[in-house]
């Protein structure tokens, strides 16, 4: 342990800790801006400067490791004036139209400005007129350079966390800025729309492209029947921003809130996740069968494609892998298409009069669309958790005071397996539950309900499943190792593809989530984000599975209805348009 004092308060922290870590330990607040707990330390903004006895210059608390006997002052005259000057400088470079700003009220620069009471502008306004035109070309993300503080959190997020690298720093001095490749519009450069940058941007330089105003218009239009689907990942995160802890009653209160907002029908996306698991499993089994019949010698994995943005990632970075992607639609597109086909039919509605709204933690979902029927989009509006929170705020509803309400019964029943699909590794767990019973014809060994190697924060997780008994037709799988791997975040895709190319570790099944943690760590979740919050959300989702009486997707009785009545299982082609790309 290293001993030091901060503002005369002694503190001991492990070697390698920074001054900022030590300050956190004794609850001493040091303001930061470019620092983010999920990212590599940068030391760019200099907001966290502190004074260390014996050092001529101030040092940044975020980047300076503690040393034995260090004497730190976080509030000396030199520190205060430097810090205030830095905030003033940042504001001079910032388009401070706070009242009109999308991040008004949740902006780290605004907080700093209010903390240091930056009044009259001391310095010249450096914002260039041409910067005031945001890049709105992307369907998912808006980039507004006039709001950028050059902290480079987006650059680090995109390169280090996502392995995408949409943004980089260009030019130097007064022309330095964060730019896309050659400054091209976002829609024309490689970007997987994951939105991880938007949830780490301290200001409104990068935000999701909001659609909630359009949703308000839809619910106000009496000629439209608006159906909204939420997912568990959204529901567990809402409370973080609205200030309540998620519990058993939360879901029914959220339903009540959505009805109050004006939605005609509220469904649980879990139902569609169950359908997705069944379809995914079917496609996977057929692929294994086909490989066997073709006498394939090398194993090429069947790769999930449900994480929006993943298809774009593979198409650009690993195009030779693209044929291995599942053709199955993502759960939210299945939601859209079934609402407009099956639900419309059941409720005697014209699909053209139905508006489907999906709320997910995902910004990339905004760009993902398909049409099962000509001219009719499966999903009309995709909004993020953050946008839904905004709608609830605007409505003035206090969720905690609402009485419970119920989902639309037709399409809301869901299994514990469906809940898992939003945690990294969960889709694989859910699939194995169904796969086991379909291959063996026997009830699942309860031990298989918790596949621990597939849980947790590792970037690559794997497990092997072997069936000693198989049903007729699946003899080729008897006693054979079926290898599953989970890629927890797009940055690990390169590693696993590298292994595949060298044929070191052949996998049969590969689950990929572009965001670390899975959907629960999506780029549209409430700000601030951190790996601790993701862990907490994962714990809730696992517990929801534990308490659910229905564990397997294919046992969902309401699912059987739709398959019997509507999606005749024998004829995959019929279902093709609804469930597959």
């Amino acid at each position: 342990m290293i001993n030091l004092t901060i503002n005369n308060i002694p503190v001991s922290v492990p070697k390698g800790n920074t001054i900022l870590d030590a300050a956190h330990k004794i609850n001493m607040h040091i303001p930061t801006l470019c620092y983010h707990p999920d990212l590599k330390v940068a030391g760019n903004c200099r907001v966290c400067v502190v004074e260390v006895a014996g050092s001529r210059e101030l040092v940044t608390a975020c980047s300076t490791a503690v040393t034995e006997g260090m004497t730190v002052s976080t509030n000396s005259y030199r520190v205060r004036t430097a810090r205030k000057t830095i905030v003033e400088l940042l504001l001079s470079e910032h388009n401070a139209d706070c009242t009109k700003c999308y991040r008004n009220g949740n902006c780290e620069l605004q907080w700093l400005a209010s903390e240091y009471r930056i009044g009259d502008h001391v310095y010249h306004d450096l914002v260039k007129e041409e910067e005031k035109q945001p890049d709105t070309s992307s369907l998912c993300i808006i980039k507004d350079d006039s709001k950028c503080v050059r902290c480079q959190r987006c650059v680090r997020t995109c390169s280090d966390l996502q392995d995408v690298g949409t943004f980089s720093v260009v030019n130097k001095g007064k022309r330095q800025k964060v730019s896309t490749f050659y400054g091209k519009p976002l829609k024309d450069v490689f970007c997987i729309d994951c939105g991880q940058c938007t949830s780490r941007c301290p200001t409104a330089a990068l935000t999701e492209k909001p659609l909630y105003e359009e949703v308000w218009d839809a619910v106000a239009d009496t000629s439209k029947h608006v159906v909204i689907a939420t997912t568990p990942a959204v529901r567990v995160a809402i409370g973080e921003e609205l200030g309540f802890e998620y519990n058993k009653q939360s879901d029914s209160k959220i339903i009540a809130a959505l009805k109050l907002l004006g939605f005609d029908s509220v469904v649980d996306a879990g139902y569609f996740h169950d359908i997705y698991i069944v379809e995914l499993c079917t496609e996977f089994m057929l692929k294994m069968k086909q490989d066997n019949e073709n006498g394939a010698t090398t194993i090429l994995p069947y790769i999930t494609s449900c994480s929006p943005g993943w298809v774009e990632f593979v198409s650009t970075k690993y195009p030779d892998m693209k044929p291995l992607l599942s053709r199955c639609k993502s759960p939210r597109l299945i939601f859209g298409s079934l609402i407009k086909v099956y639900y419309a039919d059941k409720k005697a509605l014209n699909p053209k009069d139905i508006i489907t709204v999906s709320v997910t933690p995902c910004t990339a979902a905004k760009s993902e669309n398909a049409q099962s029927q000509p001219g009719i989009a499966d999903v009309d509006f995709s909004i993020t958790t953050r946008e839904l929170v905004r709608m609830i705020r605007q409505s003035g509803i206090d969720i905690q005071r609402l009485d419970a309400a119920d989902y639309e019964p037709l399409m809301s029943e869901h299994s514990g397996a469906s809940v898992l699909t939003e945690v990294s590794g969960g889709t694989t767990e859910a699939l194995i539950r169904t796969l086991s019973e379909l291959i063996t014809g026997k009830e699942l060994d309860p031990q298989m309900l918790r596949i621990m190697p597939l849980r947790g924060e590792n970037g690559i997780k794997e497990t092997t499943v072997t069936f000693s008994e198989v049903r007729a037709g699946w003899e080729f799988l008897k006693d054979k190792d079926i290898r599953f791997a989970v890629v927890n975040g797009s940055k690990y895709a390169g590693t696993i593809f590298g292994q595949l190319k060298e044929n070191k570790k052949p996998y049969h099944f590969l689950e990929v989530m572009i965001c670390q943690g899975g959907c629960i760590g999506g780029g549209g979740q409430p700000i601030p984000v951190s790996s601790d919050l993701i862990k907490a959300r994962a714990a809730i989702l696992y517990s929801l599975d534990e308490i659910s009486s229905l564990k397997k997707a294919h046992e969902n009785a309401w699912l059987n209805n739709i398959y019997r009545e509507f999606l005749t299982k024998a004829d995959l082609k019929e279902n093709q348009k609804i469930l597959y790309y």
Partner: protein, 388 residues
């Protein structure tokens, strides 16, 4: 010869004999500790702008245990008014290479790299020819050390050692967070000694003449001699080797045009010394530490224009990474323009002064920290010229 001229030395460019690499050969027969001790006895300090003791730097690198170590010669000579490294590389490259090889021998580095400023690309060929000869010779000396040339991208901040290393790794030339310092974790994370061109030459000079002889020159704090790039309003522009501890007055008497009102010592990032401080200002580590740039301004010059030009330079050459430097340089420039135009009151200068001082304490690297040097020294001595 008058007393002043005795201050002029000729060590760096002299004795360039045809017997190649004799000093290197001789030095390699000694133990690394012995060599480093001699450097420390000689009191050699870095000949760039910072003045870190060279012997200690080599000692730190030697102490590190690593599979790989590097010796980098910083030839990104970009400080305004400096052109001595170019001359050294043109005229006595052999001394530079010897200095580097001895450093490699002492620290255990097997690889040397010359970070050559892109504007000096024309030197690359002749330097490479000399390197071929060097590599031939070094084989005979049984030293496992090779040197290659890396051509920089042309940015000022690359002169900062960690930015230089970043640029060599193929990244933007931006300073790193320190510690760790390059001697502990430099190029690709390996211990790296980064020394200025002149530092390597001077080390070689010390091994040639001995520390005892070397310390006869200069003062207790600043031993030896150093090259100065003299330019501006002078009849004798060029490179001159002077003993350290010289006062500005002595230099002005020798090189000035009898009309010198100020000397900018250390280039854009250095200090403006007005006439009334000539006598009291000593050039050396106890006084003004400098990389050797001396720009003379006579009475015909507007100090506003001088300062404006320096600030314009900084606003351009800041890498843009840290807030104080990126925005501060722009605000200082716009600020003095506004005061000059009358858009801001004269008191606004005080706001700018405070800003410059805050940049000194909070900027990430030497570039942003040193903007206050010219700003405050020019402002305090030529306030009327700046304001009106």
């Amino acid at each position: 010869m008058d007393a002043l001229n005795q201050k002029r030395i000729d060590l760096i460019f002299s004795n360039y004999t045809t017997s190649r690499y004799q000093v290197l050969k001789r030095t390699l027969q000694r133990s690394p500790d012995d060599i480093i001790n001699e450097l420390m006895d000689a009191g050699l300090k870095g000949r760039g702008n910072v003045g870190f003791p060279t012997g200690i730097k080599w000692k730190f690198a030697k102490r590190e245990e690593a599979s790989e170590k590097y010796v980098i010669c910083n030839a990104n000579e970009s400080e305004t008014g400096t052109f001595k490294d170019r001359e050294i590389l043109e005229r006595v490259p052999r001394k530079v290479l010897s200095g580097m090889a001895i450093c490699g021998y002492c620290t255990g580095a097997k690889k040397g790299i010359i970070y050559l400023r892109s504007e000096y690309a024309y030197l690359k060929e002749q330097l490479q020819n000399e390197l071929n000869i060097f590599h031939e010779n070094i084989k005979e000396f049984n030293l496992d050390f090779s040197i290659e040339i890396f051509l920089g991208g042309g940015s000022y901040v690359s002169g900062e050692e960690s930015a230089l290393i970043e640029s060599m790794e193929g990244k933007r030339a931006e300073p790193r967070n320190k510690p760790p310092f390059p001697v502990n974790s430099g190029l690709y994370g390996f211990p790296t000694v980064v020394n200025n061109v002149e530092t390597f030459v001077t080390a070689q000079v010390i091994f040639a003449i001995g520390a005892e002889e070397f310390v006869k020159l200069g003062t207790d704090y600043s031993s030896g001699s150093k090259l100065f790039s003299i330019s501006g309003d002078t009849a004798k522009p060029g490179i001159h080797e002077l003993e350290l501890g010289t006062t500005i007055e002595e230099v002005v008497n020798q090189f000035g045009d009898k009309n010198t009102k100020s000397v900018q010592v250390g280039g854009a990032s250095g200090f403006c010394i007005p006439q009334r401080q000539f006598a009291e200002t000593v050039i050396g580590y106890e006084g003004l530490t400098t990389g050797g740039s001396m720009i003379f301004f006579n009475n015909s010059r507007s100090m506003y224009k001088v300062l404006h030009e320096y600030l314009r330079f900084f606003a351009e050459e800041s890498c843009g990474l840290c807030t104080p430097c990126r925005i501060g340089t722009q605000q200082l420039l716009l600020g003095i323009e506004a005061v000059k135009r009358g858009d801001k009151p004269a008191e606004y200068i005080e706001v700018l002064k405070k800003l410059a001082l805050n940049m000194k304490t909070s900027a990430k690297c030497g570039l942003g920290q040193s903007v206050a040097n010219p700003f405050i020294s020019i402002l305090e001595n030529f306030k009327e010229e700046i304001l009106y």
